[in-house]
Symmetry: C2
Subunit: 150 residues, 2 copies
DNA sequence: CAAACATTGTTATATTCCATAGCATTGGCT
DNA sequence: AGCCAATGCTATGGAATATAACAATGTTTG
């Protein structure tokens, strides 16, 4: 006999949470974002900012609200984002063609350059994630499954 | 000639973001959490709170820090969570057996009852997600892939 | 044993993200 | 002209998260 009375700090049972899709999704997303923050710490680039730069690069001249909507960001909160990126010289808010209310968003030369560097860095990160997932097939499957939840 | 000069608000190009794993993960996670918040609005239960109740139910008598660690919650922030659930009568903080600093967490009868109701509600939600994913096989595959990212 | 150190729960605080309300300016429509 | 919608913006609050510091207690070490 003689149970071990010394601080038996066993591992916890976690079966209940492992069955929850939302919980697992959150953990995975947090892990990926955490890595993003590390990788882009010295560039001082946040995930949302990166997505903004990408979208403007592919859609120059669009209005703030259009970009914000596409990213699921409230236009009120988008203002701060854009101003910060503008303050760093990465984008311009030009007067929109036929609408004096709207700002047409464009990347500056500096912004294009910065985005190129970010893209390279991000490419490496995606490559790491790819190898974690075990190949292109797994990655594509994951993306397809995620789409069904969105 | 004659391009259409009337506000041509075409769809934006989003290829750049669709290739980003983290972005897609975030959107899916947000979508699932959004639904959770809707489903549990009248029960006034947040995702984190639900996970706390589940974990205590499976591991009664554990210390706050143990539960918090398992969920990736800082113990400082965990205090508020626990106090709120205690204020609603769902759990108790009893004196831990051999440690006068620690609180041993236990569900109350009311807590068990509440958790049962939450579980039932959550079961329905998972069932919906399952059908969105297209079956058990897809769900299991998704969970496996998510694990490789965590 | 006494001293040094670690852990536990807690408070306070700052930051970031996200949502809502309201506003001035401008545009579109009737 | 008059009404309503859209656009960018400010202000503000809530929620999640991170850190620092603290008192009480436990653990380890000289």
């Amino acid at each position: 006999m003689g149970e071990d009375l010394t601080n038996q700090s066993d591992a916890l049972r976690t079966e209940s949470t492992t069955g929850i899709l939302g919980y697992r999704l959150r953990r995975a997303q947090l892990s990926v974002f955490q890595r993003f923050l590390q990788v882009f710490e010295e560039m001082r680039l946040r995930p949302a900012e990166y997505s903004v730069l990408l979208l403007i690069d592919d859609n120059p001249g669009r209005k703030q609200t259009e970009i914000a909507d596409a990213l699921g960001i409230k236009r009120a909160n988008f203002v701060t984002l854009v101003h910060a990126l503008q303050a760093r010289g990465f984008l311009e808010r030009r007067a929109a063609a036929g609408d004096r209310r709207a700002n047409a968003l464009h990347l500056t030369g500096e912004g294009v350059q910065f985005l190129a560097a970010a893209r390279a860095r991000h490419e490496d990160m995606e490559q790491q994630l790819l190898s974690q997932l075990g190949g292109e097939a797994s990655r594509n499957q994951l993306l397809a499954l995620l789409d069904r939840l969105s």
